[in-house]
């Protein structure tokens, strides 16, 4: 684990409420934690801003005892589908609240809090759209601390919190409930329904108690997004290095800087898999000298990054730098803005950073759910501070 740099933030470290003017910062931070996936939060930011302007600020509740009652009724909400579809068939503002209502009606239990399951990407902000309309607070935390491609890939799964009952709704007025045998069945059935619904659907799942939320969610991640976004913004205004600011805020490490020289994409089992090669130098070197290249493997999100010397054409000396569950983020070199895997393009100047995942993702159950082997890479996880050989 990387020794975390103490964050030098003068503004409040924890958000007590989300106001319309806070939205751009949270969106920018959520894009970084999206690790290349999770969808561009621009659309969600527009929806959240509109909802907050109409209904007023949404209170943010920390997971601590005293702030969140053990018997609170917590409903999580988000979108499922292809980010490329969501930029065209814009997500409807009323669906997140509707998905919660459908699930609450099925359970016969009114919601007291709304939660986020995926802080990386556009799902960071959709819970606020629902909460503003329903007049409920949102928890300061989430189920991943990043973005992952499948619904069962949340820490609550490792705590035995049931994925279902889950609701699924679309803008045409369709809605349904799944009550599935296993978390993987929830993913399979909801994925099929989502495709039929035009490849974007709104889901509410993992209903849980306040006590379960406290134990199984990752605390403070909404506030973390706001802090990342704020440091990106102030870096620009004060001519600081925005990437260094992000790295400092998250206790991460910059790995590599260079230029995208190849992006090979392929579609396998319904996912956007691919490999990007960045020519440049490990941090501290001169990116323009192109002494090294970094290989990024992605499947919607970045899953591993490996380093080799430019002269090493066979790749036998390649070193794995970081793998899932830790976060691998590609940021635009000058602005520090996150680059999604779908927008990775030849010639982009980027910097690659890594962020330690919540330590619970490194448990046996966590690695089984989201480790490199689940995604088809035959290696143990390599954590941010470590390095190992490719197998």
């Amino acid at each position: 684990m990387s020794p975390s740099v103490s964050p030098a933030v003068s503004a409040p470290a924890v958000l007590a409420e989300l106001r319309a003017e806070d939205v751009p910062d949270v969106a920018a931070g959520a894009a970084v934690l999206g690790t290349g996936g999770g969808g561009d939060p621009y659309i969600a930011a527009l929806l959240a801003r509109a909802a907050l302007l109409e209904h007023g600020p949404v209170p943010i509740v920390p997971l601590e005892r005293g702030a969140l009652a053990d018997d609170a009724a917590v409903y999580s909400v988000g979108m499922m589908g292809a980010p490329t579809v969501m930029v065209e068939k814009l997500p409807p503002a009323e669906q997140p609240a509707q998905a919660i209502r459908v699930l609450a009606r099925y359970r016969g239990l009114e919601p007291s809090h709304v939660a986020c399951l995926e802080i990386g990407g556009l799902n960071a902000l959709l819970p606020f759209v629902a909460a503003a309309q329903l007049g409920l607070p949102v928890l300061d935390g989430d189920g991943m601390g990043r973005a992952f491609p499948e619904v069962q890939m949340v820490l609550p799964t490792t705590y035995g919190v049931a994925t279902t009952p889950m609701s699924i709704t679309d803008e045409k007025g369709n809605g349904g409930i799944f009550d599935t045998a296993t978390p993987l069945w929830a993913e399979r059935l909801a994925r099929t329904a989502t495709v039929e619904m035009g490849c974007s659907a709104t889901i509410s799942l993992y209903p849980m108690t306040g006590q379960q939320a406290r134990t199984s969610l990752i605390p403070g991640t909404v506030s973390l997004c706001a802090r990342i976004g704020r440091r990106l913004r102030t870096a620009r205004a004060e001519h600081l290095d925005p990437v260094a600011e992000v790295v400092d805020e998250v206790g991460g490490r910059e790995l590599f800087a260079g230029t995208v020289v190849d992006v090979a994409r392929r579609t396998e089992t319904g996912f956007a898999r691919g490999t990007a090669t960045v020519a440049g130098a490990p941090t501290g070197g001169d990116p323009a000298a192109r002494t090294h290249s970094a290989r990024l493997e992605f499947q919607n999100e970045h899953l591993l990054v490996a380093l080799r010397e430019a002269a090493d054409t066979t790749g036998e000396g390649e070193q794995l730098l970081v793998t899932v569950p830790d976060l691998i983020c590609v940021l635009e070199a000058d602005t520090g803005q996150a680059v999604t895997t779908e927008k990775l393009r030849y010639g982009q100047r980027v910097r690659v950073i890594a962020i330690p995942a919540d330590p619970r993702w490194h448990s046996e159950a966590g690695v089984a759910l989201v480790g490199p082997r689940y995604f088809g890479y035959d290696t143990d996880p390599v954590r941010v501070a470590g390095a190992g050989a490719v197998r």
Partner: protein, 526 residues
């Protein structure tokens, strides 16, 4: 031979080109009505090099007129934005996130009706004719003069946009209609924004394009007239009249392409120094490298193809401050503020009282404008420091733009390029080719024509190559249909993006083909 004309904010330049030779180049002032400036520049060109109007095979014009109109919010038509997509997309109606100033400037009025498609071409809901008719009648009551139509996933299926256009044309004959499927790529808000901008410029485009055409005809030239597009390719006047938004970024594109032509380099950094800014871009194989992020134009988010250009506030009119200039005595700075078009009144060499970059260039013997005796008193160390500052600032930007550590050629163009040193520190020598001051007009004169495919394809296992080949030949066919010579037409860009989480191999494929214009082709460039 053919003629290239660049209508900028300050100057209107023209060149007469035969093959790869520049026969004549002239500069005149831009006029308020554009067309009298074209009359003047064509007369000046004829005076510089006699040519028979019948020998001119084509006239190509690049202009910043339309983007300036948008930025200034002037001459915009009262515009309606009709979106076909209900029940989807209602939460973010057309014109969401636009600056209020511009919504007001074009009396922007949003309408939402049923329609739209899913990613795979299925219908979200059927188009309801009565809704479109009702919207059209409301537009008429509000005095709407131009209409933008967008439909969800129209890059996949444009049927509803076309049907709605037919209904509106029947209800409101004569009102121009802009279709989003003709303007942009996947990304509803960005594509729709560009379409609304286009609609707002339609009436202005009618007047400007007719004026340009009339000027050229008055000069006795009967050859076809083309306008430069953002990516350096051409479109014919009818297309330009209908889609003025496609000319937005033609200025930097033309200067970079002109630089490539004049210097003979296909891959290089181009520094275009004007009166107020220096624009730095990269040419790769003869075409400007495109920006990869969303581009905001006048505060509106769009997804135009735009060259990746960085601008810094260094130009001929930039203010010079620092030790010896009567200032604070601190380090010498140049820009970012500029006297702009008032250079000929404010600069020292013209009898003014402001020390500008042009004065420094004259004092150093780099330029011969105005009265050199008026800057003879300048401290040599100040002059050297100011020029060194310019060189260092430009070098830093070139360094940020380049793709590799390998030496990069630097080609300087534009009237202000005289400010640049012979050698940029840490980069290398600067080439300043002949006729560099009219690079924009040359870029317009040598433009090519292109064709593009940008759609979501279902790629079955093992079929990727076949699908890609089909997309490539469709792009080539489109370029040829637009007037490109088939033999010279090649695919210049292929981008495929599998749509995340989707089974069935849904893949967004973007292919662009470009070729030389067949000068006597009658086909319209698009």
């Amino acid at each position: 031979m053919h003629i290239g004309i660049d209508v900028g904010g300050t100057n209107t330049d023209a060149v007469l080109v035969e093959g790869s030779r520049v026969l004549a180049a002239v500069k005149t002032s831009t006029t308020e009505d554009v067309s009298s400036g074209i009359d003047a520049v064509l007369a000046a060109l004829a005076a510089a090099h006699r040519f028979g109007p019948a020998d001119v095979r084509a006239v190509m014009i690049g202009t910043t007129h339309f983007i300036n109109a948008l930025v200034e919010g002037r001459h915009l038509a009262p515009t309606a934005a009709l979106r076909l997509g209900l029940p989807a997309t209602a939460s973010l109606p057309p014109l969401v996130d636009w600056p209020e100033r511009l919504v007001a400037a074009c009396s922007g009025t949003p309408y939402l009706v049923h329609g739209g498609h899913e990613f795979d071409g299925r219908r979200i809901s059927d188009l309801r004719e009565a809704e479109v008719v009702a919207a059209a009648h409301d537009m008429a009551e509000r005095g709407i003069a131009s209409i933008a139509v967008s439909s969800v996933f129209s890059p996949v299926s444009a049927e509803f946009e076309e049907q709605a256009a037919a209904i509106i044309a029947r209800e409101l004959p004569g009102v121009p209609i802009s279709l989003s499927s003709q303007v942009g790529r996947v990304g509803l808000l960005e594509r729709e924004n560009a379409t609304v901008i286009n609609a707002a410029l339609r009436l202005l485009a009618d007047g400007v394009v007719a004026g340009l055409d009339a000027s050229v005809r008055r000069a006795g030239i009967s050859a076809p007239l083309y306008l430069s597009q953002n990516d350096g390719t051409l479109m014919d006047v009818e297309r330009a009249r209908a889609y003025p938004v496609a000319t937005f970024a033609s200025g930097p594109t033309n200067s970079m392409r002109g630089a490539a032509f004049l210097s003979g380099h296909g891959t290089c950094a181009v520094v275009d120094v004007g009166g107020t800014t220096a624009d730095i871009g990269m040419l790769v194989h003869g075409f400007p490298r495109e920006a990869t992020t969303e581009v905001e134009v006048a505060g509106i988010r769009t997804n135009f193809r735009m060259p990746d250009v960085l601008s810094i506030g260094i130009g001929g009119g930039s203010l010079v401050r620092g030790a010896g200039s009567g200032g604070s005595g601190g380090p010498v700075t140049v820009g970012p503020d500029s006297v702009g078009f008032r250079l000929t009144q404010r600069a020292l060499v013209f009898g003014g009282d402001v020390l500008t970059a042009t004065d420094v260039a004259v004092a150093a013997g780099l330029a011969d404008v105005g009265d050199a005796s008026l800057v003879a008193h300048l401290d040599r160390s100040l002059v050297d420091a100011a020029l060194a500052r310019i060189g260092a600032d430009v070098a830093e930007v070139v360094d940020r733009m380049r793709l590799s550590a390998e030496p990069v050629r630097v080609v300087a163009v534009g009237g202000g390029s005289i400010l640049l040193p012979e050698e940029l520190p840490g980069i290398g020598a600067v080439e300043r080719p002949e006729n560099h001051a009219v690079a924009n007009a040359i870029g317009a004169a040598i433009a090519q024509v292109g064709g593009e495919v940008d759609r979501v394809f279902a790629v079955a296992p093992g079929q990727r190559d076949a699908v890609l080949d089909a997309a490539k030949s469709e792009a080539v066919d489109r370029a040829v249909a637009a007037g490109a010579d088939r033999a010279s037409t090649q695919v210049v860009d292929v981008d495929e993006v599998p749509m995340a989480y989707l089974p069935g191999g849904a893949t967004r494929i973007r292919v662009r083909a470009v070729g030389d214009l067949v000068l006597d082709a009658l086909a319209g460039a698009r």
